[in-house]
């Protein structure tokens, strides 16, 4: 029987595919955090030096009050990269809005001024104006994308991914993979080579064109992560090749078993290992191989069904695939996701491609 629980679960699952570039979102999180840490006068002082850096590819510049070095200027502008109004996708307009340092509160102010109640429309309209080189009647609350964000973007655009960052963190002995991304991105921007080749193809460096390819880039990234994980796993255990939320199978196994950073420190101490990334990967591999670890996990293991469903989506399958599989296996859509995920976790293939 098609229970209300399954009806709702299927409905949520069918409509909650984020379809966004996670690197882009993380860069914005960092931008929000930084803007809150700084007082406006600090932003104004550093504005000139920030403006000298080509932060946003595709012709988009910093807010004019920053680039002019004239604090108190009325509005932000973005040079028109190509064409005029109507040439931009909503994603591009949204990116322009946020990348210029505007946030939700600014959108609310604009909505009040423009007598528009739909905030999403306000952001799109504001972004379009910025892309067309027009000014907005309010100043951005934050500052535009900063060098660190661009370093990370350069890192990903060069075809490197999270696993590459983890590898580089080990080589460079940086504190974490994020620092490795920044360091790697700086080197790429300086035309220096990195000690490892990128896992994927070189991406576009134009933010104005990047938005239109975000979905395919995201899908490509996922596939590359999976392929690389499979290559690394090949023959080691020969069992699991799936990934969870972009993590390698070993790391996914580590976290899904309830282990955390503190446990990694304990394991590092027990194994006389200093690189925590390697410790986590090594521990995860042991878990995948059915071995036990010398410390108990601090947290609770992820429910198996969650893990399976996550794997199902992480491997590129979506709701419609689940519907097809449900039809083939004669089970509910939800069970198709769970069963499909479990099969993927054990290295089996499904009767349809994602």
């Amino acid at each position: 029987m098609y229970e209300e629980r399954e009806i709702l679960l299927d409905t949520f699952d069918a409509h909650t595919d984020p379809n966004v570039d996670t690197a882009d979102v993380l860069a914005r999180v960092d931008a929000i955090s930084r803007s809150r840490r700084r007082n406006r006068w600090v932003v104004q002082v550093t504005g000139v030096s920030l403006a000298t850096v080509s932060l946003i590819a595709g012709g988009m510049a910093l807010p004019s009050w920053l680039s002019d070095g004239a604090p108190g200027g009325q509005a932000a502008t973005v040079n028109a990269a190509s064409g005029g109004s109507g040439d931009h996708t909503q994603a591009q307009e949204r990116s322009a809005f946020f990348d210029a340092g505007y946030n939700y509160a600014d959108a609310q102010k604009l909505a009040a001024i423009w007598h528009e109640t739909n905030i999403t429309r306000v952001k799109a309209e504001a972004g379009q104006k910025l892309l067309d080189g027009e000014t907005l009647p309010v100043q951005p609350s934050g500052d535009a994308i900063a060098p660190a964000d661009k370093d990370v973007e350069a890192f990903f655009n060069a075809g490197y991914d999270y696993n590459d960052a983890v590898t580089l963190a080990g080589i460079w002995h940086t504190t974490d993979s994020y620092q490795a991304k920044i360091k790697g991105g700086k080197k790429i921007e300086n035309d220096e080579s990195l000690p490892i080749p990128p896992s994927g193809p070189t991406g576009s460096s134009s933010s104005s064109s990047a938005s239109s390819t975000k979905i395919s880039k995201l899908a490509t990234k996922k596939m590359l992560i999976i392929k690389k994980a499979e290559a690394k796993q090949g023959g080691a255990s020969g069992a699991t090749s799936g990934t969870t939320d972009g993590l390698s199978p070993a790391l996914a196994a580590y976290f899904n078993a309830g282990y955390d950073y503190t446990n990694a420190q304990q394991l590092a101490s027990a194994w006389h290992e200093t690189n925590l990334e390697q410790v986590k990967a090594q521990a995860g591999q042991k878990l995948l191989d059915g071995e036990s670890l010398p410390v108990q996990p601090s947290g609770q293991p992820a429910p198996p069904t969650d893990s399976a469903v996550n794997t199902f989506f992480a491997d590129g399958y979506d709701y419609n695939d689940a519907v097809k599989l449900a039809s083939i296996w004669n089970v509910s859509t939800y069970h198709a996701k769970v069963e499909g995920g479990k099969k993927l976790q054990t290295g089996e293939t499904l009767p349809i491609q994602p």
């Binding site: 029987m1 098609y2 229970e3 209300e4 629980r5 009806i7 709702l8 679960l9 299927d10 409905t11 949520f12 069918a14 409509h15 909650t16 595919d17 984020p18 379809n19 966004v20 996670t22 979102v25 993380l26 914005r28 999180v29 960092d30 929000i32 955090s33 809150r36 840490r37 949204r94 939700y104 609310q108 109640t117 739909n118 905030i119 999403t120 952001k123 999270y162 504190t175 974490d176 993979s177 994020y178 939320d245 972009g246 993590l247 790391l251 976290f255 955390d260 950073y261 947290g299 609770q300 996550n310 989506f313 992480a314 709701y319 419609n320 519907v323 097809k324 449900a326 039809s327 859509t333």
Partner: protein, 173 residues
């Protein structure tokens, strides 16, 4: 776990959770960005929590509830109502394709729910929490959770006393 590691690993799941709550990808992205920024600012505290993931999900939930208070409830509801009107109300043979259509219909109906009712449904069915846990997250009594869930299901025409769920849409034309 550093904040960057946590955010990279959990972002897709947080975005899915926020979309389930808000029903809107753009708004969900904004909510998650705000929530992660708050988590980053208090990362030491978040990291020390029993479950950093649950901690951040609570921030996302609070952010959603407060944002919905601050703005555009009527917009989201109006959009949902419009979608309900436009939806294809087929009453013929049921198959998986119809289930997809019904899913869109139901998604539109979810948009018409008051924020707390929708939150209860997301927490109960999407997050699969029990009513006591939901009550704790929403800072209300379990009876209030049950009441909200009942009202929401009634609005969605998903009451369990209607034995054949597939006949729901046919009766509301």
């Amino acid at each position: 776990v550093t904040f960057a590691e946590f955010a990279t690993a959990r972002l897709p799941a947080l975005l899915r959770y926020a979309i389930a709550l808000t029903g809107d990808r753009d708004l969900a992205q904004d909510v998650v960005q705000e929530s992660l920024a708050k988590a980053q600012a208090n990362w030491r505290r978040v990291e020390r929590a029993n479950s950093p993931d649950a901690y951040v999900r609570q921030i996302v939930l609070n952010e959603y509830l407060s944002w919905r208070r601050r703005w555009s409830v009527r917009n989201i509801q109006a959009a949902g109502e419009q979608m309900v009107v436009l939806v294809d109300r087929r009453a013929a043979t049921r198959d998986h394709a119809d289930a997809v259509v019904d899913g869109d219909d139901l998604w539109a109906r979810l948009a018409t729910l008051p924020r707390k009712q929708r939150a209860v449904l997301v927490l109960r069915y999407y997050e699969q929490l029990d009513d006591t846990e939901i009550a704790s997250l929403l800072d209300c009594a379990p009876a209030t959770v049950r009441s909200n869930a009942s009202k929401a299901l009634k609005t969605l025409r998903l009451n369990s006393d209607r034995n054949h769920a597939h006949s729901l849409e046919t009766s509301d034309v």
